[in-house]
């Protein structure tokens, strides 16, 4: 099975990944093969089965809301590709 070309470009847009023209054919065949593989599950009866999102049998643990002084803005900004003052900097969004 091949994944259709338009669908692939749409997925690329949603995923913010550019689809490389030269790899279009191999990518659509790879994705097609994976979809065919996961489609096997369609025939399994899951009527009246609850979904499992997490296997841990424990309700969510919360920690006390205590302020701590870790990861200062300066430390975090050290990794930013571009920064200005105390901010991450990105290409202009509003004209």
């Amino acid at each position: 099975m091949e994944f259709d070309k338009d669908g692939l470009y749409k997925l690329g847009k949603l995923s913010k990944i550019q689809i490389d023209e030269s790899k279009l054919k191999s990518l659509s065949s790879d994705l097609g093969s994976i979809i065919e593989f996961i489609d096997r599950l369609k025939s399994i009866d899951t009527e009246n089965v609850d979904p499992t999102s997490n296997s841990l049998d424990q309700s969510l643990v919360m920690r006390d809301d205590i302020a701590s002084d870790v990861n200062s803005a300066n430390e975090i900004l050290e990794n930013a590709p571009q920064k200005e003052l105390d901010f991450f900097s990105v290409p202009k969004v509003i004209e």
């Binding site: 913010k16 990944i17 994705l31 369609k42 979904p51 296997s55 991450f88």
Partner: protein
């Protein structure tokens, strides 16, 4: 000094003042240097390690040891954030990332006085079972077939972690396992690999792949070492909301290798005509061994075993596509400039991610997209319940389950199939365990006709790691597998 020291031997030598942490660290740094060809390490932190080793030796002189394993050199998968040390997840997109904080697991290792030699190569973002998806190139398995000189994969995604232990480049290492990423490489390299119960080990500071499946664990030379290192890294962490509140246990001190009266389940769904004869034989021999040692074998059924892999390939990519949305060239990692914000995102991600990671993000986005969400994602979560239920029912009858770890032994680096689904099949025996959230261990048992290690997998119910380690120790002590690879990489 003896080659291939394990955790326990190294700590005895240190205790008897027959070596120092600095001496051990130097030996291992030399071993690493000699084994450059294996490409196990992304980053070697020699200076750091020697500094830490010196401090450990000082603590020993002053009688202020942090733990009985203070001063032992280990390796860390390059997926754990390490403060002020580059952490790349073997991806181009994080090739310049230097975390400002330490992961919970590596902090626990520091608190126990362990010495990190550096960051170990892995599949990109832990996605793969060959270590070939790494931006830094594949890791080579220290094992070679006795019939060919071809280089073999070490398995993945913790390929560097497993290969480094097998090649004696560190005494033990840390890996992570989302669908088999500790057990499959352990099986391919003749090492011991433990995937703990989901929630047993904190995920805080581990670069996330699939958050409901990811667990960190040790790769070691012996079951005792696995118990020791597991005990160091386990325990509740308030910073990980999915971390279990169960008390940590003394897994190492409580090791007891008796299997008398234990019931060992043999699942019929794992039997296959495709299984190599040598793997089948190892499995059969281990059954006999356990029986001889007083365990009872019971045939069981895990009816949804064959549904686990397609279920995993919905859930894991779905979670990955969401987790990897954060890599957009804004806060960390590389950036590719674009005309506008969206183009900058797209260019950064297209240049920064490798092919396998892109495939999984695209699949994950597909199964979560409007119109497909119920048919794929919710459906897979329901089948996950069925898989978990299979194990729950089995553990009403048995103490543990015994299976092969992998459907084959290590294969040639150049011989990977073109179809990604064929590669995914490597994890067919390991993936159901992650979906159920239960613990499992891979231990080396025998070598195949090409002299390559065969691993067997033991599985127990949630939070029964002690029982798991005990049975594994029984198998280890009786099977007496002592094979190590020939060090052909030494110049």
């Amino acid at each position: 000094m003896k080659r291939n020291l394990n955790f326990i031997e190294a700590s005895s030598l240190l205790e008897a003042n027959e070596t120092t942490s600095v001496e051990l660290t130097k030996i291992y740094l030399d071993n690493i240097k000699e084994a450059e060809e294996l490409n196990c390490f992304n980053t070697i932190t020699a200076e750091h390690a020697l500094d830490d080793a010196e401090k450990s030796d000082q603590r020993r002189q002053q009688g202020k040891l942090k733990s009985q394993f203070d001063g032992i050199p280990i390796g860390v998968k390059d997926l754990f954030c390490t403060k002020n040390i580059k952490t790349t997840a073997s991806s181009k997109i994080l090739s310049n990332f230097v975390p400002s904080y330490e992961s919970a697991v590596t902090q626990k290792c520091i608190d126990a006085g362990l010495i990190s030699l550096g960051k170990l190569n892995c599949d990109e973002f832990a996605m793969g079972s060959t270590n070939k998806t790494s931006y830094y190139g594949p890791v080579t398995n220290p094992w070679k077939s006795n019939k060919s000189d071809a280089k073999l994969v070490p398995g993945g995604s913790s390929g560097g972690s497993a290969a480094a232990v097998a090649a004696d480049l560190c005494i033990a290492s840390l890996g992570t396992d989302t669908g088999g990423s500790i057990r499959q490489p352990a099986s391919f390299t003749g090492t011991v690999g433990l995937k703990p119960t989901y929630g047993r080990v904190s995920r805080w500071g581990i670069i996330a792949f699939a958050s409901s499946l990811d667990q960190a664990g040790p790769i070691t030379k012996t079951v005792e070492d696995a118990a020791a290192l597991f005990e160091i890294i386990a325990g509740h962490d308030p910073k990980d909301s999915t971390s279990s509140i169960k008390e940590n246990e003394s897994f190492f001190d409580n090791l007891n290798s008796s299997v008398k009266g234990m019931k060992i389940g043999i699942p019929k769904e794992f039997k296959s005509d495709d299984l190599p004869a040598s793997t089948q034989k190892a499995w059969d021999d281990c059954k006999k061994l356990l029986q001889n040692n007083g365990a009872e074998l019971i045939d069981i059924s895990l009816p949804h075993t064959m549904d686990a892999l397609p279920t995993y390939y919905i859930i894991a990519p779905a979670e990955a596509s969401s987790n990897l949305a954060r890599y957009d060239g804004v806060k960390y990692g590389i950036r590719e400039e674009g005309e506008n914000l969206i183009e900058m995102y797209e260019k950064t991600r297209s240049v920064g991610f490798g092919d396998e990671v892109k495939r999984r993000i695209l699949i994950g986005t597909y199964v979560l997209s409007s119109g497909y969400y119920d048919a794929y994602y919710i459906k897979a979560q329901k089948i996950r319940s069925l898989i978990k239920n299979d194990f729950n029912q089995a553990f009403e009858k048995v103490d543990a389950i015994l299976t092969p770890s992998t459907p084959s032994t290590a294969f040639e680096i150049e011989n990977e199939p073109n179809d990604p689904v064929q590669t995914y099949l490597n994890d067919i025996f390991t993936v159901p365990i992650n979906l159920a959230g239960i613990p499992a261990i891979s231990i080396p048992f025998a070598n195949d006709e090409n002299n390559l290690p065969i691993g067997l997998q033991l599985i127990t119910n949630s939070f029964e790691e002690q029982k798991l380690l005990n049975i594994a120790k029984n198998v280890q002590d009786t099977a007496n597998y002592e094979s190590v690879p020939k060090n052909w990489w030494q110049k």
